[in-house]
């Protein structure tokens, strides 16, 4: 069922069993999981079914620290969320990502990968991927020409990816709108969470839109699923009953903001062509491909973060501008146009290159960011058009991040030399071992994680192992905001799995 909240009488009261705030990958995945159940599920979406700049503007905010994308264009604010333009790259986190690592401050999840495995398998279906199998040998039998580089498997392994082309807005509009149990309200922006008199339960959520309508939503359980930045913003901005905001008794909401560092880091030069389709990817065509990953034992030995290296032909990559440069328009449509225009131009120029460069690759890092309490979301002094303080992002990286990026290529350099397969050349920003900084050209992956991190201890995390906000019995967070650490893979598969796990947990509560 679909209701446009702009057309409801002002001050309407909406009631249901569970209320999901946000209709992106996390929110829609949970809603779909309740589709055939005899409960009333309220799904609130701030935007409509298409891009609306007035709604998108609500995401605007200031950034400081490490250069970042304009916040307005870093997510999409309509039904389907950022799956509206995502690349669809999916891989599960590794076992190690869930463990406490003594060399990574604030690491460790209260759940293991095993806890998440059944939900990863289920998330594969929601994301319309292949089987939940990310084993290289499996894919090698399934697909032709997946020839691996001749590196020692105990040092460098092939981490497999699958690729989704599911845009949730298109794929799931029909089933959601047709569903009797799901009540989708578009143009229903949450503007405040209200606690009851005990201050231990959410009693209602206030919603508003640009038509001047204000409504109230009441439910037994509330799930915030509006993205890592907006989830934290809403908790912090709901501060009329508690000074610090909801769930923020230990001053943790908004902290530990993490991104994936995605940065061109080195070159791999080969003496001759190495025919393989293992490391390349073409949107809508490639079923599975790999990135070069560092073995757990090696990460332990060098006390480094978990990251991978992806490959692109150097002749093209050398003309590709950093996305942090091309994606600087606050309108996400214009930023996307700029980025794709540069990619086309780079491909055109690169095609003309001949010689040794024809068998050279640019290696790009994809790596977790070390959890850092100073990397955080706070409220700005400025308010948006619906009266909610804007989110500010201070993105701060650490020396461990830089060390780990460099270490990946030192390890690959050694492997390439040992196997007489090639030689690695570090990009300039990695050459000075005493320089812990990152250049402005360092990309994020538009992957926002960690602002309501998970921990059994309320002093160390905002939500518990079931994604329930500590101290609030009926408030849950869905999505990558709950990640204590960010792993190397893009977060959508894991956040969908985690949301489905939360959904299962809720089924036992209602």
């Amino acid at each position: 069922m679909h209701i446009d909240a702009r057309k409801l009488p002002n001050q309407s009261e909406i009631t249901g069993d569970i209320c999901i705030v946000g209709a992106g990958a996390a929110g829609i995945s949970i809603a779909l999981d309740w589709m055939n159940r005899n409960y009333k599920v309220i799904l609130l979406e701030g935007g409509g079914f298409e891009y609306d700049d007035e709604v998108q503007e609500l995401y605007n905010g200031k950034t400081s620290g490490q250069k970042y994308f304009p916040l307005k264009s870093a997510r999409l604010h309509y039904f389907g969320g950022t799956t509206g333009h995502w690349a669809g790259m999916c891989a599960p986190m590794d076992d190690l990502d869930f463990k406490k690592r003594d060399w990574v401050p604030h690491s460790g999840w209260p759940i293991t990968k095993k806890d998440l495995d059944p939900y990863y398998a289920k998330a594969q279906e929601t994301l319309q991927l292949g089987p939940y199998n990310y084993d290289f040998e499996y894919w090698r039998k399934e697909l032709p020409d997946l020839n691996p580089f001749p590196f020692d498997k105990n040092v460098v392994w092939n981490k497999m990816w699958q690729f989704s082309i599911a845009r949730f807005g298109k794929e799931y509009k029909k089933p959601v709108v047709k569903s009797k149990s799901i009540h989708l309200y578009t143009y229903a922006n949450a503007v405040e969470l209200r606690l009851d008199d005990t201050k231990k339960r959410i009693s209602e959520i206030k919603v508003a839109n640009h038509s001047g309508k204000n409504h109230t939503v009441r439910a037994k359980h509330f799930i915030m699923a509006c993205g890592t930045i907006q989830n934290a913003r809403m908790l912090l901005a709901s501060n009329t009953q508690t000074n610090k905001g909801i769930g923020n008794q230990n001053n943790l909401v908004g902290r530990y903001f993490q991104e994936h560092l995605e940065v061109a880091s080195a070159e791999l030069w080969l003496a001759k062509q190495f025919p393989t389709d293992l490391y390349s990817w073409s949107y809508g065509e490639t079923k599975a491909s790999a990135e070069l990953a560092i073995a757990e034992s090696v990460q332990r030995e060098y006390k480094m973060l978990n990251g991978t290296a992806s490959l692109r032909p150097l002749r093209i990559a050398q003309y590709t501008k950093p996305r942090m440069e091309t994606w600087q328009d606050s309108d996400p449509r214009k930023s996307a146009d700029n980025m794709f225009a540069n990619w086309r131009e780079a491909a055109k120029k690169g095609e003309k290159e001949t010689g040794n460069i024809e068998h050279a690759y640019s290696l790009s890092t994809r790596i977790e960011q070390a959890p850092n309490p100073n990397s955080r979301i706070t409220l700005g002094s400025e308010k948006d058009s619906l009266g909610v303080p804007r989110a500010n992002l201070h993105w701060e990286l650490t020396a461990l991040d830089k060390y780990s990026v460099r270490k990946i290529y030192q390890i690959l350099g050694k492997q390439a030399g040992l196997s007489e397969f090639g030689r690695i050349r570090l990009n300039e920003f990695l050459r000075d071992e005493n320089d812990p900084t990152f250049p402005d050209s360092t990309n994020g992956g538009w992957h926002h994680m960690g602002t309501t991190r998970m921990s059994d201890d309320p002093k160390k995390g905002v939500v518990d192992a079931n994604c329930k906000v500590h101290g609030v019995s009926n408030l849950f967070i869905a999505g990558a905001a709950c990640f204590p650490t960010s792993g190397a893979p893009n977060p959508t598969l894991t956040l969908t799995a985690l949301s489905l796990r939360l959904s299962d947990h809720l089924k036992g509560l209602v």
Binding site: A266, N356, K414, G417, E420, R423, L426
Partner: protein
Amino acid sequence: MKRRNFLVFSALGITSVAIPIWYYKYRPLSYDGLTLEPEYLSHIMDEQSIYDLGSLYREQTPGERSERELLSLLPAQDETSNDALLAEIRKDITVDYENDDVICIDGWILSKTEARQCALFSLNHKS
């Protein structure tokens, strides 16, 4: 001994010691061209780049700036054939990578042996 004889014998004595020492230190060096040629790098970069890498290596590595110093650290030149010398160099390069005996020059992660080859190359060629 007459004064004249003493001087003659002394001069002969000094000469007999000094000449071998001088010869050992300043003798013209001869070595196989293979030693100059970093085999793998020559497949992926041009001579100028190898020269530049060699020059940089010598700059940042005191004690490895002369032919004589570099040759003393490279595989011995007494191998019976080119193949044997090449095999020896390749083996040393592998051992370098195994032992983490690598160096970063201008961003390139190279085995010490091949870096020394570049350095030797830079002493034998003009930029």
